[in-house]
């Protein structure tokens, strides 16, 4: 999923302070799962903003809505009936959702209420870890299901480097060395030979080296 964390309240308040009527929009997808921008967080943020404005001696009108998916124009269309009553939109979705709203409702300022972090997985309750950088050319099939691009601090394709020690990375004692994990996994699977094959320098074109990426599925296009 795409992970996110709520921005500091002070920053959010600075964004919306010139406006009296705010449309606060959450998203039922990734940001709900990582507890950053779902229905519950929309309610909490609305309360916090209301409390802050009351302390300042003013009232703001916050309309709360949580869409099924903010990165999908079909669902963003649901805001049409509310948009005229808002001076600004505060989005609790990832950057994709914020931009989908900004593209659809060009006449309204749109502000992000979360910082989009990374594509990650849930490690345990309340902990999400980076697992994918969307490099566009998945190597997991040859690295034992452990991604060196996302999990090696140097993104090495032929690791480990000299900074590995007892299975940990030199950058911090609680960071696993991805290449130690890869080696152990390949060994366990009896696929050590794969480790010995030298990988060529990565082609960064699928990773967006040449500019913003796009997927076109002609079989699905209208």
């Amino acid at each position: 999923m795409i992970t996110a964390e709520q921005k500091p309240l002070k920053e959010i308040i600075e964004y919306i302070s010139p406006y009296d009527r705010i449309l606060l929009v959450g998203c039922n997808e990734c940001v709900t799962v990582c507890a950053a921008g779902g229905r519950k967080e929309v309610g909490l943020l609305a309360s916090a903003l209301n409390l802050h404005s009351l302390k300042q001696g003013r009232t703001i009108d916050i309309k709360e809505i949580t869409l099924e998916r903010q990165c999908d124009p079909e669902y963003v269309e649901e805001l049409v009936s509310e948009i005229d009553r808002a001076d600004a939109i505060l989005s609790m979705a990832c950057g994709c959702g914020v931009q989908t709203i900004a593209e659809r409702y060009k006449e309204k300022p749109v502000f992000p209420a979360v910082n989009t972090k990374f594509m990650g997985a849930s490690q345990s309750q309340g902990i999400w870890v980076e697992r994918c950088q969307g490099c566009g050319d998945c190597l997991l099939g040859i690295t034992g299901g452990i991604c060196p691009v996302a999990r090696c601090s140097k993104h090495l394709l032929n690791g480990p480097c000299g900074g590995t020690s007892d299975g940990k990375c030199e950058i911090a004692p609680d960071v696993d060395c991805a290449w130690c994990l890869i080696w152990e996994r390949l060994k366990a699977l009896g696929m050590e030979k794969r480790y010995e094959e030298i990988m060529e320098a990565k082609d960064f074109r699928p990773a967006g080296g040449g500019g913003p990426r796009k997927i076109i599925r002609e079989d699905l296009s209208l």
């Binding site: 082609d203 960064f204 074109r205 080296g209 040449g210």
Partner: protein, 290 residues
């Protein structure tokens, strides 16, 4: 007299652009530079021009110093992060390279190493801030340098597409001047009257303006520029002139020389780009009366 001194005195400066080789054979670079030694003020060395891997501009600049010539090197953020850029700037100073031109690197997708990872840690404005910081004796992390470098730093204006874009580019360039650009270089336009109008607008930024004369090499090149870069305002009459000439190469040299003649009273300096025909540069200077 250095390039900076001449510009500050208001004397016309003449620069030529010379690429480093794709390889280690520097004989053409050295030979072509030597033929121009007493006739020009500086040699501009692009770095990986058009996104094509060449010997680094730093080496090209050092070679020019060995030849007793004043270099100007391109700097941009596509291939190096802020650490590498700052390290190279310190190296440039000790190698005697003091003229820098901040340029926008060609997109990696248009070069010859399309699978490379673009760095883009710093943009043009950031680079000017970086140079300014180094000049003051501090790196971008705030640490003090042992010995301050000296640079004369300019900014390469983006190609002008139309009048609206011109106004936008003037604003953008002003931000670069405010950030420390001490001169600006304006890309070539082939309609001289229109080019002079553009150059005059950039003069309002109160830094020396250097015009660029780009040498057309044949009808095909002229046609390509005319179609793909409408902002260059390459008139059909120029293409016809080359096409009808008995000796097209000489005609191209003559055209470049004439452009220089018309521009030299209008600007602080002229840079000549011969795009691979650097051995014809003396002939262009002859035609221009320089």
């Amino acid at each position: 007299m250095t390039l900076q001194t001449k510009l500050s005195k208001g004397d016309l400066v003449v620069l030529v652009e010379m690429n480093t080789p794709k390889g280690v054979d520097i004989s053409d670079l050295v030979t072509n530079a030597r033929h121009l030694k007493s006739r020009i003020d500086a040699v501009v060395i692009p770095d990986m021009d058009n996104g094509v891997m060449h010997m680094s501009a730093l080496a090209g600049g050092a070679i020019m110093r060995q030849q007793g010539m004043e270099p100007m090197i391109h700097i941009y953020g596509r291939d190096r992060n802020r650490m590498a850029l700052q390290g190279d700037m310190l190296a440039a100073h000790v190698l005697g390279i003091h003229n820098l031109l901040v340029v926008q690197g060609e997109n990696i997708a248009h070069g010859d190493h399309q699978n490379a990872k673009p760095v883009d840690d710093l943009n043009e404005l950031d680079l000017l801030v970086m140079v300014h910081s180094l000049l003051k004796g501090t790196d971008l992390a705030g640490f003090e340098l042992k010995g301050k470098p000296e640079f004369f730093t300019g900014y390469q204006v983006q190609p002008i597409q139309d009048d609206d874009h011109l106004e936008e580019e003037i604003k953008t360039t002003k931000a670069k001047v405010d950030a420390g650009a001490q001169y600006i270089m304006v890309p070539p336009v082939f309609d001289i009257d229109y080019y002079i109008q553009i150059l005059n607008k950039f003069k309002s930024l109160n830094v020396p303006v250097i015009a660029t004369v780009f040498m057309l090499k044949n009808v095909g090149m002229a046609r390509y520029i005319s179609i793909n870069d409408p902002g260059s305002k390459l008139p059909e009459s120029l293409i016809t002139r080359i096409r009808k000439a008995k000796d097209r190469e000489t005609e191209c040299i003559r055209i470049a020389g004439e452009m220089i003649k018309e521009l030299k009273s209008q600007v602080a300096g002229i840079k000549i780009s011969a795009s691979g025909w650097e051995d014809r540069l003396p002939a262009i200077l002859d035609c221009a009366g320089l």
